[in-house]
């Protein structure tokens, strides 16, 4: 094994890792925003809203992310006649895909809150939206931290798929270095280790957050 080559490739790979973190963080953030709305729509009593949200979630969870990336990057421009920047396409595909999973996490979190909480809020004359905002969502937020952490980790790994549209994140960087050096073993090992360090860090961070919330719950 060529350790010297690994050391040389590291800085380049790490800049790729930074890009990976950027797409993932941005996609998770956007995914949470969209997912919160879709998740609430999923439990709406308005049949149309409920149905649209269900179809949205089913479509995104029922088709491969890779295909979704192709749809955004290659198929969409056919319709619009405009090329899409790989970065925009990557973020769009990842965040929309993630929003479906996040929506299900929020839906489960909200439905895990005792129905008496909604009744108590409504019985005080608060609207459904007010009760959601001030009573249900804040309680659900604590319960969704662990599954959201898992989603974050899953997305970080899945973001490697955007390498297929030539977007230079960690995996793509690895491919490019190998094309030059033919050092498959060394480079893929490095890439794997960098992913591992990132995912383990995130799961530690989530565990810490979870503990902190539990403590503040008891107070």
């Amino acid at each position: 094994m060529n350790f010297e080559l690994m050391a040389q490739a590291m800085p380049l790979l790490l800049t790729g890792a930074v890009v990976t973190v950027q797409i993932t963080a941005l996609s998770v953030l956007l995914g949470i925003l969209i997912g919160l709305f879709v998740g609430i729509a999923r439990i709406s009593t308005f049949r149309i809203v409920h149905l649209v949200a269900a179809v949205y979630v089913d479509f995104l969870r029922g088709t491969p992310l890779l295909v979704q990336i192709f749809l955004v990057y290659f198929a969409l421009p056919v319709v619009t006649g405009q090329r899409i920047d790989p970065f925009v396409a990557a973020i769009a595909a990842c965040s929309i895909n993630s929003s479906a999973y996040v929506a299900e996490i929020f839906r489960a979190g909200i439905q895990s809150i005792d129905a008496g909480q909604m009744e108590a809020g409504r019985s005080l004359g608060m609207t459904w939206v007010q009760t959601m905002c001030y009573i249900i969502v804040p309680q659900a937020a604590r319960r969704v931290i662990p599954p959201l952490g898992n989603e974050f980790i899953a997305l970080l790994k899945d973001s490697s798929l955007v390498s297929v549209i030539g977007f230079e994140e960690l995996t793509r960087r690895g491919q490019l270095i190998i094309a030059r050096t033919y050092a498959s073993l060394e480079i893929w090992l490095c890439v794997a280790i960098i992913y591992l360090v990132m995912t383990v860090s995130i799961s530690r961070l989530v565990a810490w957050l979870e503990r902190r919330c539990k403590n503040s719950d008891q107070r």
Binding site: E119, A120, S123, L124, G125, Y134, Q139, R219
Partner: protein, 238 residues
């Protein structure tokens, strides 16, 4: 104050309430008793629309349910639940001030001043900063009563307010309720506390199988029940 006409409620194929007619006057304390599953709680929950009536008419303080904004009616009719339903992520104080601030638009200072007076009234002024899980069941229910009172409702509906409590805590909650009754609050109380019904009830309703089978003063119902089923029910619990 509250007028219920031909109220019917069907869950699936089960007729839980069959043609309920009921008038509750201002300042009246109406106690609703009856076997479990008789529809007492459903009746109460229909009055503030937590359950949507299948048919019938409910008028609260001149406002007809289904025509008036339901949130407006709910600010006039408070509700106290069997399982308290306090907001666990908020202190007692925050539980009480939330709705007045968000619904009535009260300032934080005003809402907190009012909440403090209410906490004193239910004997919990020193627990304002406590979270629900730091309070005993009886204390939680008293905070829940204060929370309902904070909206200055014209009436409060009590849905088995002491049924989830340990026996030694029942009295502290009933004492608060007696105090409210004496102060002239309009109350509808579903309960199994016959002592309470006798002492503060202006009128007692016996509900069975979705109908008001018999009603009268506590004396009439408890000492001279007319219906066989009322007699049978009372003989089991007295």
């Amino acid at each position: 104050m509250i007028s219920v006409k031909h109220l019917k409620k069907v869950f699936g194929s089960v007729e839980v309430l069959k043609d309920i007619n009921l008038e509750i006057e201002e300042k009246e304390v109406v106690v609703i008793i009856g076997p479990s599953g008789s529809g007492k709680s459903t009746l109460l929950r229909c009055i503030n629309y937590l359950e949507e009536p299948t048919s019938g008419e409910i008028i609260v303080d001149g406002m007809k349910l289904g025509e008036t904004d339901i949130n407006k009616i709910r600010t006039e009719v408070g509700m106290v639940f069997q399982r308290f339903n306090l907001f666990p992520h908020m202190t007692a104080m925050e539980n009480i001030t939330l709705a007045p601030m968000k619904v009535r638009g009260a300032s934080k200072t005003d809402a907190e001043g009012e909440a403090m007076r209410l906490l004193e009234r239910v004997g919990l002024a020193d627990r304002a900063a406590a979270y629900p899980e730091q309070l005993s069941g009886g204390q939680q229910q008293r905070v829940a009563i204060a929370r309902a009172l904070a909206m200055r409702p014209k009436a409060i509906l009590f849905d088995e307010p002491t049924s989830a409590l340990d026996p030694e805590m029942v009295k502290e909650v009933l004492d608060v309720m007696k105090d409210l009754a004496r102060a002239g609050l309009t109350m509808a109380v579903v309960t199994h506390e016959m002592g309470f019904a006798r002492e503060v009830g202006d009128r007692v309703l016996f509900v069975d199988q979705g109908m008001i089978l018999e009603q009268g003063t506590p004396e009439e119902i408890f000492s001279h029940p007319k219906e066989e089923r009322t007699k049978a029910f009372l003989s089991k619990i007295l």
